[in-house]
């Protein structure tokens, strides 16, 4: 009753952020700590029951702005200016106790990784009802009843008993939905969704997205939906706010932003970044031939079942599939990290021994790898020159000036200047780090590079640049790629042939044009139809037209 009165009192306006300024102290290596401004005077308003999408690349300040609606600064971030008016009062002036009464009651939070955001030591139900009971808005029994109704609404399996499980006992997609139920349980006025589907497989993302959208509509809660994926936010948001470097770029209705963007930056985000890639016909003999490979970890279940693929010199084979489909295991089998139990691997006309330690130095040199997480694939205490120079020393015995010249040449190839040679990985951006990893792989003059989700951790525009670079290098060096990814847009841009993997098996394999042309098998159809399109109403259409449910939801 009281709540309804409050709602009327503030005539529809739930959240008003005025001239928000947020700062943090950074500790650059070798320099004195300094304060940097992360958000420069951003303002926004959100009406009751509406969804505002906050979008931008990493470092745009989207999460920081979203969390400011809970007066929370993550990792030492400080709100230094402006007002955050929620339900008619500035919560920045509420004091510690006052803010605690707002968090979990008026505003709730759904994190990117529910797997990390749930406490492993407690049952799901205890965590879902905790805020509700803590704030005394309902008794424990009422809250549990409410939670079970929400589990049912979010189409979780066995809604009456799933609360008795521990976080590790349910899948990632289910956890994400339980977290949404947790946010809805205390019947807040506002929920902050912070990239809630980014960590999920495309086939799972679509279900979670639909569940979140229905829940928002049915409960009438307002939401700030933070994501870097415009196609996703276009499905749920009424309005979209584009942010860059902590500043507002453009703010408007969803339709206007994706159909008639007024700013050039928005236009760049909205336009499709597909690279026109002419498919090459297979050559005479493959550089790598994987024949009937079966492998398992520690004698357990087979994670690769009778896999056969070929890669031709200077061409790209894309391996696609959801997590757990065996993509990365295939890479481990080829590199010898996981010796296959059955089958053979031929490389450049010779049979590779299964075990890594029996391979010759040339075998190792000609087969290089690039990883998803560029920052953990480099020694943080070595400079770029040392990192790139290491394979030159190891494989070609280069020293001194000769090596430095080769490093400079490689830096040039990855479109980074000589100035980067003396930098440390921590001083590079995500895209630059990945470029250094590419240069390190190229330094060995390989015949084949295995690229394991190399663009997945990068912002779309940066990823686009990396793909272009990889294609240019392929044309120059005639190197073949085994390109592992779950992202079908990337596949279209780079592949000559495609292998679709599902539960350890190759379910579809052939040239790009064959694989991407109908008729599709059920799994490929699901995979293709799950890729979000920047189209209002795509979600409903895609859900309606599906032939099989995704496995990992």
């Amino acid at each position: 009753m009281a709540k309804a009165a409050v709602k009327k009192q503030h005539d529809g306006k739930l959240l008003e952020v005025r001239d928000l300024k947020i700062e943090a102290t950074v500790y650059p290596p070798g320099e004195d700590p300094k304060d940097v401004t992360i958000v420069h005077g951003v303002s926004l308003t959100l009406e009751r029951g509406k969804v505002l999408g906050l979008i931008g690349e990493s470092g745009a300040g989207k999460s920081t702005i979203g969390l400011s609606s809970m007066a929370y600064g993550r990792g030492g971030v400080r709100i230094t200016g402006g007002e955050v008016v929620l339900n008619g009062r500035d919560i920045l002036k509420a004091g510690r106790g006052g803010i605690r009464k707002i968090r979990g009651r008026e505003v709730c939070y759904v994190a990117q990784s529910a797997a990390a955001a749930f406490n492993p030591a407690h049952k799901l139900m205890d965590q879902v009802v905790e805020a509700t009971v803590e704030h005394g808005t309902a008794t424990r029994a009422e809250a549990e009843k409410r939670a079970r109704a929400l589990f049912r609404k979010l189409s979780l399996p066995d809604p009456d008993n799933i609360g008795n499980r521990y976080p590790h006992q349910v899948s990632g997609g289910q956890l994400q939905r339980v977290m949404t139920a947790m946010a809805l349980c205390s019947e807040p006025d506002l929920i902050v969704f912070d990239e809630p589907t980014t960590a999920l497989d495309v086939t799972t993302q679509i279900d979670v997205l639909a569940a979140i959208k229905d829940a928002i509509r049915d409960t009438g809660v307002a939401a700030l939906y933070i994501t870097h994926d415009l196609a996703v936010v276009a499905q749920v948001a009424d309005q979209i706010m584009v942010l860059r470097h902590g500043k507002l770029v453009e703010w408007g209705d969803t339709r206007q932003i994706i159909k008639e963007p007024r700013q050039e930056y928005t236009n760049k985000l909205v336009s499709v970044h597909e690279i026109e890639h002419q498919e090459k016909t297979p050559g005479a003999s493959p550089v790598l031939s994987v024949q009937n490979v079966t492998a398992s970890y520690g004698g357990g279940m087979d994670v690769l079942k009778n896999v056969s693929v070929d890669i031709y010199p200077g061409q790209t084979l894309a391996v696609v599939g959801e997590s757990g489909s065996g993509k990365s295991t295939l890479a481990r089998a080829i590199t010898g990290l996981l010796p296959p139990r059955n089958g053979s691997i031929a490389f450049n006309g010779r049979t590779l021994s299964n075990a890594l330690r029996e391979r010759t130095r040339d075998d190792l040199r000609e087969l290089q790898m690039i990883y998803q997480m560029a920052d953990v694939a480099m020694n943080p205490r070595q400079t770029v020159a040392t990192i790139i120079g290491r394979p030159l020393e190891f494989y070609f015995n280069m020293r001194g000036r000769e090596r430095d010249a080769a490093v400079a040449e490689l830096l040039d190839k990855i479109e980074m200047g000589k100035g980067f040679a003396d930098r440390y990985p921590a001083e590079l951006s995500g895209g630059q780090k990945q470029r250094v990893c590419i240069a390190r792989a190229l330094a060995a003059k390989p015949k084949l590079i295995i690229c394991d989700e190399v663009t997945s951790a990068l912002d779309p525009l940066v990823a686009h640049g990396i793909l272009r670079l990889l294609l240019d290098l392929q044309a120059e060096e005639d190197v073949a790629y085994l390109f592992i990814t779950h992202d079908l847009a990337t596949v279209k841009s780079i592949a000559d042939s495609i292998a679709v993997m599902y539960r350890g098996e190759v379910v579809r394999y052939g040239s790009k044009s064959e694989v991407l042309a109908p008729p599709f098998d059920d799994y490929t159809d699901l995979l293709l139809s799950s890729v979000p399109e920047m189209e209002i109403g795509w979600l409903e259409k895609a859900i309606g037209g599906r032939r099989m449910a995704s496995a990992g939801n």
Partner: protein, 319 residues
Amino acid sequence: MGSPILKLIAQRIALGILLLLAVSVLIFAGTQILPGDVAQAILGQSATPEALANLREELGLNQPAIVRYFQWLGGVVTGDFGTAMTSRQDIATAIGGRLWNTLFLAFWAAAVSVPLAIILGLLAVRYRNGPVDKAISGFALASTSLPEFFVGYLLVFFFAVKLQWFPGISTVYDGMPFLERMRAIALPATALTLVVLAHMMRMTRAAILNVMQSAYIETAELKGLSQLDIIRRHAFPNAIAPIVNVVMLNLAFLVVGVVVIEVIFVYPGMGQYLVDHVTKRDVPVVQAVGLIFAAVYIGLNIIADIAAIVANPRLRHPK
């Protein structure tokens, strides 16, 4: 409770027993390597070769070491530790009372120090990097940095000599009234508490701080929980394994490491008993005490391992 957890626990216990057997071999072998034997020790410098031979025959020292080891082990398993050479007393009886004294002292030292260390650790995390945290850490580190004999003598000097609140010598006897007994052990128990407190408190603080970095702590914070609730409800359950580990190490120290404290306070426990008989080269007693200390140590570590296994929800509730 699934079977994997029972299997893991059974494995730990089996491993512990195996370890104890290995230690018993080491203890036995160690005493064999020492020059001279029991017969020589008993008879001393003036022994005639005949007397030595007779005594060896009598004590069964002529048999090969391996046979004597198994005889000794068989005795130990049935609770017979043999007789002390010097006093000719049954070792098991002599140890019985002393072990009880040591455990009594260790129990009260633990009853004070373990909760105190954990509460101080929690408080240090709650007020981390502030004056409270620094005061707690400073006090705890200072008390650990001082050698235990020094702490012991300080306590004696102030509380026994100057203030005369507690006796400086902790004499206890059978049938002593409980309160008097507590008064007698007040100073050694305090000294032990001060010695082990800092280690447990610092580890509690570090383990919880480590957990405080987790994403689920942020979730709890964004639910509007108070700092103390977050630490108590969300951080502590996930820090139990490392905390139990260090607590058990310190409990083991309270039992086996009290030698110095017992000597300072002339407390009739295992430590003092061990020191007495080492000086007299009473090998059977040293063997028995060594084995009991090892058993306590291994047993407490098994408990720590089991606690860590049980505290892990992934093992308690398999998929």
